[in-house]
Structures are given as C-alpha cells and as structure tokens.
C-alpha cells in the first residue's frame, strides 16, 4: 500500500548515508520515526530490530507474518517481536511491498545459492558480525542474528508454493518509514550482494533519517 509521509527531511534530527556493504547501528527511542531511503533504487536494506532494553526480544518474521496473515510488509504493518509484541509500525511506504521471507545473504549461503567460488565475497551477515564486534556495548552476538526484513526487496509467492526473486519494485527516492513503539536497537546491513539481478548486480547507498 502506497502511503506518503507528512514528515519533512529538513526537520529530521538525524541523517546519515550508509554506503553499500556498510552497516548502520543505532538506538531509536520510543515514539521516534525512522525512514530508510533508497537513494539510487533497487537496493536491499537487510534490517534487524531488538528491544534496546532486552535484546532477547527481537523482530520475528514468523510472528509478524502470522499475526497479520500476510507475507508482505507495507504501510499499516505492525512489526512484531518473538514475544509477539508490537515493536514498530510502518507508517509510510512509497515502495508498496517489502520482503521478510528471504533472509540475509551470508558467505555460506552464497556458496549454496550461486557458486562455491563465491565463498569469500562480502555478505550481509559479515556486516552484522562486524557491527557486533565493533559495538560490544549493544550486547549482541551471532546468537542474536535471526530472520530479518529486506526493505525494498520483492519476493512473490506463487499459488504452487514457489518463491520468486522478482525485479525490484523500488526506484530512486522511494522510502519506508516506521514509528518505534518501544526503544529499539536498529541494525541494518546495506546489502553488498553482487550476484543478484534484483539490484542489477550493483549495490548502492541508502540514507537513514530519524525524527523525534
């Protein structure tokens, strides 16, 4: 569902560009709004959310999919935790659909999906591992790396039960916005995937904005 935001980027109290292959890690306070902006189009922002006060509570794709009865995320979707509690609500979305079935890329899964020779290419999980290592204060480890959201990715399910990685429906300037319903640790890997036609084999930067 397309829903435009009323928020003005000039009023944001935080703005940062995240290059492809880099990560973003920050605490979003309850009531604040986060926007992820696809600067050049067809990028994937692989995102994990944690309860900032108790990281054992985290975004759960299963709980979110099951409780809303739909596999896609868009404006109106409530992102739920592994305790089946609301964590964030998507308040605006100019892309229309985001994936949470496909998970993130990892060097290990790249060997399976593409070729064994791809083992040493950079991948989202390595970006998360780097974030975890460089910010011990967040108390995260590999144990905490679970199913994520792929903002701007389009992964339709067919009636026969197939999963297709379709052409991106995102474009330069498209964005998704969500309001925090509790204090949230946000961990984004701006996907470095070089093997996927979804992004035209060309990972690009995203921008992150936060409003109080």
């Amino acid at each position: 569902m397309i829903r435009e935001s009323q928020l003005n980027p000039a009023d944001a109290h935080f703005r940062d560009t995240v290059p492809a292959g880099d990560y973003f890690l920050k605490v979003l306070k309850e009531g604040e709004t986060l926007r992820i902006l696809d600067l050049e189009g067809n990028q994937a922002a692989d995102t994990l959310f944690f309860n900032a006060k108790d990281t054992a509570e985290r975004y759960s794709a299963m709980d979110t999919i099951r409780e809303q009865g739909n596999v896609f995320l868009t404006a109106g979707t409530v992102l739920r935790s592994n305790r089946n509690r609301p964590m964030l609500e998507i308040t605006a979305d100019t892309c229309g659909r985001h994936d949470t079935l496909g998970g993130a890329c990892a060097t290990e899964s790249n060997t399976v999906r593409y070729a064994l020779e791809k083992r040493c290419m950079h991948a989202c999980r390595d970006s998360w591992m780097r974030a975890v290592n460089e910010h011990e204060e967040y108390g995260l480890s590999k144990r905490d790396i679970t199913h994520n959201i792929n903002f701007f990715m389009n992964v339709p399910v067919t009636a026969e039960g197939g999963l297709t990685f379709a052409d991106g429906i995102s474009a330069p300037g498209k964005y998704v916005e969500m309001k925090a319903l509790m204090d949230i640790t946000v961990l984004i890997s701006n996907c470095p995937q070089l093997n996927n036609p979804c992004n035209g084999y060309n990972p690009t930067p995203i921008e992150v904005l936060i409003w109080h």
């Binding site: 299963m62 896609f72 079935l101 496909g102 990892a106 290990e108 399976v112 992964v155």
Partner: protein, 238 residues
C-alpha cells in the same frame, strides 16, 4: 537397506528432543490426520549453527517443503533431506502458537486439573526442550511445521488449508550431518479448530541407505548439490 532402530508414538501437545547421527532417518506419520509437528535442528557440536528457514526457502526457490527439499543450516549445510513425503506441502514460516494465543483459543487447561491432557503451546514446549541444552529464547529460530499446509494468494494473504489433513500422511527425513532434533506435537498457530487438536504422531528412527550419485534430493536443485559439497568439506574435519 534400512533397519528400524526405534519406534515411539508421541502423544499430542508434547515435546521431545534427541540427537540423530548422519546416515540415519526419521520417519513421521500423522496417524489420525490433522497433526502438527514443530521441529528445529541444531548442530550438537556447535549449537550456534541452526536450521535456517529463509536460506532453505530462498535457496530452493520455494515457499513449501516437500520431497526433494533439503533443510539448510545457517552455515550453508544440509541438516536433513526430505527423501519421502506423502503430504506434499509443509510450512516453515508461521512459527508457533504462544501462551497468550493458546489461552485465547482453547482456554486454560492446567496440569493440576487435566494432568497430561493439559494444553501446552508450541512456543513454551520449544523453550522447555531447548533449556535442556543450555539454549533459550535467543536460539529459537523459525521452525518447521510438518503436516500443516499454509498457502498464500497473489497479495500474500495466508490461508491454513485444513483440508490437506490426511490419516497416514508420512514424511521421512534423512540426516546428512549429526543433528540435535527438537520437536513438539502442539497445534499449528493457524489451525482453526476450536478444541485443542489431539493428534498423535508415530516417530520411527531408521538407518538410511548411503547417498548415491543419482540421489533425488542431491539432484533436486543445483543449490542442494553445493550444500552437500559444504557438508563434505565439514566432514573432512572429523
């Protein structure tokens, strides 16, 4: 040549765990039709390695699990292959019924009053079993829901297909690496039944024939062959 090693009929609403060696198989039978088996896999030597539903689905371009599909770990390896399946469409995205939803749907049935006919949620069952291995909430990944069919339409809307239930439906998993199997027989979270379903599941452990070059699962998709190659590399270290 396979040999039956162990045979147990697991009651509904229960939880269990065990380790299976590479080269063994697990055959599950929905005896009456309408059962659900929640299942998770861990590497017993490195429990941070666990079943990864997203990698399993995207690696095989599928939303459903059936014969030919391999069940991947997050490390690019295969825990188990589905070598036989008469059910046809198993779920791995809907997770578990939790305690709050259990109470809403079925009311309170505590142990004091109902003894072994109390009602447990899949979520609580997994946590109880995981705790036996020092694992907890942080380790609870997306699980399999065997014998439960959940379909979607073009808009992504989910529907639980209760009509898929069939007495005698059977699935056989062949283990490709040593695996800690954690399972429960609690209802699927989208099962519309108004009474807590009481459906037993027969659990048989067997020896498995060695994986041949023309193995159905190995050749089901090129991704599976590469995941098996990752298993081979892993076992070089043993």
């Amino acid at each position: 040549m396979t040999e039956l090693l162990y045979d147990y009929t697991m009651p509904s609403g229960a939880h269990w765990s065990f380790r299976l060696r590479r080269g063994t198989a697990l055959r599950l039978t929905d005896l009456e039709g309408g059962a659900n088996v929640g299942m998770l896999f861990y590497n017993p030597e490195e429990k941070l390695e666990r079943y990864n539903a997203p990698d399993t689905l995207k690696g095989q371009h599928t939303f459903k699990l059936t014969r030919g599909n391999c069940l991947y770990s997050d490390m690019g390896r295969v825990f188990a292959s589905i070598v036989d399946d008469s059910f046809g469409w198993h779920d791995t995205v809907c997770g578990n019924l939790d305690d709050a939803r259990l109470l809403e749907k079925y009311g309170e049935h505590n142990y004091q009053q109902y003894r072994n006919d109390w009602t447990l949620s899949g979520h609580a069952s997994f946590l109880t079993e995981l705790a036996k291995y020092g694992l907890g909430e942080r380790d609870l990944a997306a699980n399999l829901n065997l014998f439960s069919k959940v379909v979607t339409d073009d808009n992504g809307q989910l529907r639980f297909d209760a009509g898929a239930a069939r007495a005698g439906a059977q699935i056989t998993l062949r283990f490709e690496m040593d695996t800690l199997v954690v399972m429960h027989t609690c209802p699927h979270p989208l099962n519309p039944a108004s009474d807590y379903p009481r459906k037993p599941v027969r659990v048989e452990m067997l020896t498995a024939a060695p994986v041949a070059k023309d193995d159905y699962c190995l050749n089901f998709r090129p991704e599976n062959a590469r995941a098996f190659e990752n298993n081979r590399l892993y076992h070089l270290g043993l």
